[in-house]
Symmetry: C2
């Protein structure tokens, strides 16, 4: 947690907050802060700055703060990721937030097991928690938009073309030989398939929706590794 992210409900005054729960524990046990100490803070959806600890004990962290910096700009990036298995989902969602993607779509695909969609990790409060962890990691206050697309075809045929718009659409797909475009036109829409990849019909649909194939090379990477490598390459 490189930023103590304040939620509106934490505020007890315009320049004062009171935290409990996970963030309290983290500040006590990992940051080992003390009364009078400073912490990097930010207000969810707002500015960032410095907080000073007024109280810190087993019950609560209270701090006063000044917010005078803008959060880092979002990348003009929409990630369209085939829903990963639950064990991987949290890391992917947090990584997408920490990398600064403006929007994340979790999409169904043939090789996404039906059971993944029933995972408790897909509950809104669980997804939000992972996004917040990603923001705290990266020192950002702006939540990315998050969309669950449980049906492949309506999303890809009806929504995806307008998401790509006048920007660059890319679909990561091994064996296509598609090279990383130079002089990328923002915004970028980037689709990453499931373990086992897109099936041919899905790949064709994605291309018809305006995405160009991008080949990461002979190595098959885990979703979260591929995601970070692609963002590092494109931006």
């Amino acid at each position: 947690m490189n930023l103590v992210l304040l939620l509106p409900e934490d505020l007890v005054a315009p320049d004062r907050a009171r935290l409990t729960g996970r963030r309290l524990t983290h500040v006590r046990e990992v940051h080992r802060a003390t009364v009078g100490g400073e912490l990097a803070v930010g207000l969810l959806g707002g500015a960032m700055g410095r907080g000073r600890v007024l109280r810190l004990d087993a019950e609560a962290l209270e701090l006063t703060f000044v917010l005078d910096q803008a959060p880092p700009p979002k990348l003009p990036l929409t990630l369209v990721i085939a829903l990963p298995r639950p064990k991987v989902l949290n890391r992917v969602v947090a990584a997408a937030a920490s990398l600064g993607a403006a929007r994340l779509v979790l999409l169904n695909a043939w090789k996404v097991e039906k059971a993944y969609w029933a995972s408790p990790r897909l509950r809104p409060e669980s997804l939000r928690e992972q996004l917040l962890l990603g923001l705290e990691q990266a020192r950002d206050t702006m939540l990315p938009d998050l969309q669950l697309a449980r049906l492949f075809r309506p999303f890809v045929e009806d929504d995806l073309p307008s998401l790509v718009g006048q920007g660059t659409g890319l679909v990561a797909h091994p064996g296509t030989g598609g090279e990383t475009p130079k002089g990328l036109v923002a915004p970028v829409t980037l689709a990453i398939g499931p373990e086992g990849g897109w099936i041919d019909a899905e790949f064709d649909s994605l291309c018809r929706a305006g995405l160009r194939p991008l080949d990461l090379g002979p190595r098959i990477l885990r979703t979260e590794t591929a995601l970070a490598a692609l963002v590092g390459r494109l931006f």
Copy 2:
């Protein structure tokens, strides 16, 4: 596991192997292979090809195989990573292997807690297992060199300059404004700090050893995310 990685001790004949344990379970339960089915296989340290299942039950997987492809080339990359906390270590080691780094050095640093060096995850067999998982993920057969550098100064002063050699040395460090070099000269040596970053004296030592600062921007990424983003950017 995108490649069934055969170890020398699995071979019961030059073209036949017998597997038990984790790989057997994975092929049965995840690949759901059947007798007569094909699997991508590779021999650790050797070539890759196709295997055909001769037997598959609770006790063993037996397969015959033909190896006729070279593994993907390694990246001319030495990663020097401050030892991550144990929870993160496995993912970092597997990610480094899957990304294709030729060499990985786990280095001590001021902000690496002493206890991390006592973790059972640093045992050779545990580290090797993570490297193998990374190779299986990426479809590679060549283990990267792995070195534990428990003392910062001797490694950085005595070993690092010759590792950098005539290539490019980089140290990821926020706030330096160091840009990604264009026209990178291989081999690349890339140092990534601990959570909390390098202290000034360490950063200075790394620069004296021939590394140039590289600034990833305002976002602070987890080690494994930063690692993949940097490899994506540099190669």
